[in-house]
């Protein structure tokens, strides 16, 4: 049984479909990134799993049970966690822990452990109103972990932070990852690549890719030929309309030619270079990076 099973998930606002027929699952111990540009529907999906937004279609199962009965199961860090500024960090955790029905003695100990884990031990008795953005993010993580959830869900956990804060939180997440199952959304591929085993790429409410990073690269990677020649632009328009060509991208003297099949593509390209007598300075075959795959998928969908 999967820890989280999402099937045929759909969200409609009026006639506008924000999320369309999404299926995926998460196993215990996995770290999964929900990747997509802003406005792709990531937050909506997360809120539906959390039962903050109601689904208009499909089903979400947590540990085999309907998700709306499984609040205790999930720890949640929203995109911009802001808490009551008049509480201290420790009081907030006591409050959230109390709502999760944790025994007082256990809670006390757990709060101290968590505050040390996220590095807020020294400021636990200061008002949250005096915390910086990064500190609030850390407190948000501690808050999400207080009831020892089976699944930790985070919405853009590092997007709002400066590079230093972002590094800190990523390192912290690496530690947490070892003991928890994590689902987090981000629009930054690099974060996903660094932390995750599995990636879900979402755009305009549709799931484009679902799989481990290696798998995605293997399955969807397209070879790219880079041809460098003077006035290459004059030649490329002759090539564009061929069947084998996926796309041609021009940058200065170089053209990036994506082909559908590496063997046929190579033969075809070499034939054309001789036919057109292209004064080639450089010819190179490269593999798409994950980022290029991401951008291509988002653009083409």
């Amino acid at each position: 049984m999967h820890l989280l099973q999402v099937s045929h998930l759909q969200k409609k606002y009026g006639s506008h479909e924000v999320v369309q027929n999404i299926n995926f699952h998460i196993n215990r111990g996995e770290c999964v990134a929900l990747l997509g540009p802003n406005g792709a529907g990531k937050t909506t999906i997360i809120k539906m799993i959390l039962n903050i937004n109601k689904l208009t279609g499909g089903q979400i199962l947590l540990n085999g049970k309907r998700h709306d009965q499984m609040c205790q199961f999930i720890g949640y860090l929203p995109q911009h966690p802001t808490f009551d500024p008049w509480m201290t960090g420790k009081e907030l955790l006591t409050f959230m822990g109390g709502l999760s029905n944790i025994d007082k003695e256990v809670l006390e100990q757990r709060i101290n452990e968590l505050l040390d884990l996220v590095g807020l031990g020294g400021v636990k008795n200061q008002l949250i109103g005096t915390y910086s953005g990064g500190m609030k993010q850390r407190l948000g993580i501690a808050q999400a972990l207080i009831h020892q959830p089976k699944l930790l869900i985070m919405d853009e956990p590092v997007s709002a932070l400066d590079p230093l804060g972002r590094r800190d939180i990523l390192e912290l997440l690496k530690v947490i990852k070892q003991t928890s199952t994590i689902l987090f959304s981000t629009h930054i591929l690099h974060d996903a690549e660094e932390l995750c085993d599995k990636i879900l790429i979402i755009n305009q409410g549709q799931l484009l890719v679902n799989g481990s990073i290696n798998q995605i690269i293997e399955e969807t990677q397209q070879p790219i030929f880079i041809i460098q020649a003077p006035r290459i632009g004059e030649w490329t328009h002759e090539l564009v309309n061929e069947d084998i060509v996926e796309s041609i991208e021009l940058t200065g003297n170089a053209a990036k030619v994506r082909v559908k099949n590496i063997e046929r593509g190579r033969n075809w390209l070499l034939r054309n270079i001789t036919r057109l007598q292209l004064p080639v300075q450089k010819l190179e075959l490269v593999q798409e990076s994950l980022e290029e795959i991401f951008i291509r998928m988002v653009k083409s969908s």
């Binding site: 937050t43 809120k47 959390l50 039962n51 903050i52 937004n53 109601k54 609040c71 205790q72 999930i74 949640y76 929203p78 995109q79 911009h80 966690p81 802001t82 808490f83 009551d84 008049w86 509480m87 009081e91 409050f95 959230m96 109390g98 709502l99 999760s100 029905n101 007082k104 808050q143 009831h147």
Partner: protein, 261 residues
């Protein structure tokens, strides 16, 4: 420990940190002092100041103790007091809604009913307690400056007034669930509540259905010991309006998707 106690503890902490627990009672105590003191000393001060200029003789009616107490309710509590209640309650729901605490609370299996009741109870204790203390102060000053009034009448009148106060609080809470900006909440709440007050001046049978009419009932009980006709209908209407307001707030919040956070 169940959710409700945890939520109430948070209200208590909020009351302390925001000093509401201090300034709310103090404001109402000031308001309570104001009416007896000014009614008693204003004529004396005017006399000491050499009387009014000629031709401007205003006859200041000799007030009785029960009239002074009734005046505390109509002139102080229903004016400044009303505004203070609205300001004290303006952010109750709106701030939780806006800063995302409400979503946090709801992800912990807390029901909206528990949440709203904790808010209502926490503030009801504080606001009704303040009204009570304020009126108690007024009673002490009145007894000292004028004469004693039947305690039973005072208690009964105050009790009726507290129902109206509870209605004001509930109304502001509902405005807080519907609206986001506290300035709008304050303005609209004050507008509607004062409108209800003004409508009572028109008289007419439909006052029976107006919660603000409870102040008139309280005044009548304090000054004459008798309630106006249809007393129980007005009380029943007010109490059901309170319940309806809460039900409406619950269903509105449960249907509404919380703002992105």
């Amino acid at each position: 420990m169940n959710h409700f106690t945890v939520l109430l503890k948070r209200e208590w902490l909020d009351a302390r940190r925001s000093y509401k627990i201090l300034w709310l009672p103090v404001v109402f105590m000031f308001l309570g002092v104001l009416q007896p003191l000014s009614s008693f000393y204003l004529p004396k001060i005017l006399k000491m100041a050499g009387g009014l200029p000629e031709g401007m003789a205003i006859s200041l009616p000799e007030l009785t103790a029960d009239e002074v107490l009734a005046g505390t309710l109509t002139d102080q509590f229903d004016q400044m007091g009303l505004i203070v209640i609205v300001i004290a309650a303006m952010g109750i729901i709106a701030s939780d809604k806006n800063n995302g605490m409400l979503a946090f609370i709801l992800t912990r299996n807390t029901t909206l009913v528990e949440y709203l009741l904790s808010k209502l109870l926490g503030h009801a204790v504080m606001i009704l307690g303040s009204v009570f203390l304020g009126f108690l102060t007024a009673v002490f000053y009145t007894f000292h400056l004028y004469q004693t009034v039947s305690v039973a009448r005072v208690v009964a009148g105050l009790g009726v007034y507290l129902i109206w106060s509870l209605f004001m609080l509930t109304f502001v809470i509902v405005m807080g669930t519907l609206l986001a900006r506290s300035s709008v909440i304050v303005l609209l709440s004050i507008l509607v509540l004062i409108l209800l007050k003004i409508v009572t001046l028109l008289g007419g049978g439909f006052q029976v259905l107006n919660p603000a009419h409870l102040t008139n009932q309280a005044v009548s009980i304090i000054t004459s010991g008798n309630m106006l006709p249809y007393f129980f209908i007005t009380v029943a209407v007010t109490l059901s309006l309170i319940v309806l307001c809460l039900l409406f707030a619950t269903s509105y919040l449960s249907r509404k998707e919380l703002p992105s956070m």
